[in-house]
Symmetry: C2
């Protein structure tokens, strides 16, 4: 599979990453990804969100462009995973704090 | 001094708090507040930001409305402080992660 373009670890920007997290749907996607160790398919059927495929696709792009996720593509298939190590390197503790929200 | 209206600790919302952090000016304000233990004055002269008083006032309101800060008022004077304990209770580690950004 090929990896879609994404910012380098050094180019990760805190404001941009926070903006990517600051949306209910994207937060749900990030939490779903945080709960598994392997990449997940991008389809609407895989997530507990009530949005169109186009809107979901937009959210995946925001997550990828901000550096929160990596997207792999093979034909029409897309797999997404969190950039845990890159985020931990640049913003220690941030992903854990966002995902852990005890008040969900 | 009287305290301006703000959400209760139980009403703090992660998406709203993340949105409040997700701005370069507000991030700078939060970091300035994190660096001191007492409330700070709200004036533009006190912070390393190049914006108008009106814009700064807007940013303080976003921070207060989201529950990131408490504002105290006495006549025309305004003092602001971080709601460290409330944020730590609801979103453990989040404020530290946002303030600590080693890549500033």
């Amino acid at each position: 599979m090929r990896q879609l373009p994404q910012p380098s670890t050094a180019d990760l920007d805190l404001v941009r990453v926070l903006s990517a997290f600051a949306d209910p749907v994207r937060l749900e996607l990030v939490r779903a990804l945080a709960g598994v160790r392997e990449p997940l398919g991008c389809g609407v059927e895989g997530f507990d969100v009530e949005i169109s495929a186009a809107t979901l696709s937009h959210h995946w792009k925001v997550l990828r462009d901000s550096g929160v996720t990596t997207t792999f593509a093979s034909g029409r298939n897309r797999l997404v995973e969190l950039r845990r190590d890159d985020l931990a390197e640049r913003f220690p503790g941030l992903l854990d704090a966002v995902v852990a929200d005890s008040a969900r």
